[in-house]
Subunit: 214 residues, 2 copies
DNA sequence: GTGGGCGCGATTGCATGCAATGCATGCAAT
DNA sequence: ATTGCATGCATTGCATGCAATCGCGCCCAC
């Protein structure tokens, strides 16, 4: 369906920074850019509005720019949800409902993320980091939580892309990934929940301090 | 905008059970029922699909019927989010950022909910109960959490409307509301979070046992 | 020079036409 | 009788026309 194509392509363009926060976008422009008529583009823009990636502004829409306060809110929600998914994933592991291969994949992604970060391949690190957290959410086998998280991740990604900077303590972040992985692999649900919550809030704090530096 | 009108009217019809889970719905039918053209109705149906209230099914859409397993997932997410909003509300209260009148309103709604439940005015009790939880989410001042909760509440409401039965222990539910209220009013954030989480999961358990009875 | 008001033009929102699609129904053949 | 297929039709998805709207710029007055 062209409507879905329009949605995913526009979403992609927003998430990779081609349309940065604040960028203006009209039905007609987008229709011309994607070479389709206004109708499917119109539906896509409405969907993106519902997703919180753009917001109506006079004529057309603009890519949202979350203010620091809104970002804090987003991280709070993300923290609550990832705490839940980590707990659920660990519980499922304890119950033997998780395939060993999935845990291997998770470890691989964690390693790749650490390497990319250490090497300064930041764009790649962002993708891998998100994949790491997504894999955990998938292991939790809770589609509602996964969907809610996708929305939050998208919104956070849009508003932090421009300030791409290496984490001040890369080893710290990687260490937390390792701890989280270990807790899940061991089926320690409560610990996994605690680590996930702390890790997400830590990530926010790091971004904060780097904003302050800038 | 007619598109929004269509969305809210259709949403209302679904949430109040006029279109029960499983009901089929086509663009043309809905357009005729709402007396507007297919275009705005079409957009509304897409939005409702994104909201998880209907899902495409062959031609047209059907109102979603969450299976028990999906309901469990929904309650898990709801529990995580309400735990967060309760914690945030309590924290804001401790910081003196909550108007006393808002707490009075919250208490009034809690009382009204308890009365409606005790009197067997179930439809009313559902509305009041939701308003109680919503007020807390508003006190938390986290719009993302509020939006995510609205979605979850909608989905849960649709799939539990038909099994409207008085809670087996109404005093228990009302008591939990009181405890939650007290924790927030006293600014005890951690306790509020704990009570909220337990209360939501309790609600789910009650529904479960009543399903079992039926 | 600045503030306010007015008019024009771009852009949206809705309606409808048209073609494509997929589902249901019925018929035929085994 | 049941299954497979073909045909017709309801319904969707997209394109485009048309009217209403809103923003923007310009001009005038102060």
């Amino acid at each position: 369906m062209q409507s879905d194509v329009a949605w995913s392509r526009l979403r992609e363009l927003i998430l990779d920074g081609t349309y940065p926060p604040g960028a203006r976008l009209t039905e007609m422009e987008a229709a011309a850019a994607l070479d389709m008529s206004r109708t499917p583009v119109r539906e896509a823009l409405r969907a993106l509005t519902a997703d919180g990636l753009v917001r109506p502004s006079g004529r057309g829409v603009v890519v949202v720019a979350l203010e620091p306060g809104d970002l804090d809110e987003a991280y709070q929600v993300r923290s609550a949800l990832e705490s839940l998914t980590a707990e659920l994933a660990a519980t499922r592991q304890r119950e033997g409902r998780i395939a060993p291969a999935d845990l291997v994949t998770l470890r691989d992604v964690a390693t790749a993320t650490a390497n990319a970060t250490a090497d300064g391949r930041l764009a790649e690190a962002v993708v891998l980091n998100r994949r790491f957290h997504r894999l955990i959410a998938e292991l939790a086998a809770n589609t509602m939580a996964l969907h809610a998280l996708e929305r939050i991740w998208d919104q956070i990604q849009v508003s932090t892309l421009r300030s791409l900077a290496p984490p001040s303590r890369p080893a710290h972040v990687s260490g937390q990934h390792e701890e989280l992985l270990a807790a899940i692999a061991a089926g320690r649900a409560e610990e996994a929940a605690r680590i996930a919550r702390a890790h997400v809030l830590d990530t926010r704090a790091i971004t904060h301090s780097e904003e302050a530096q800038a």
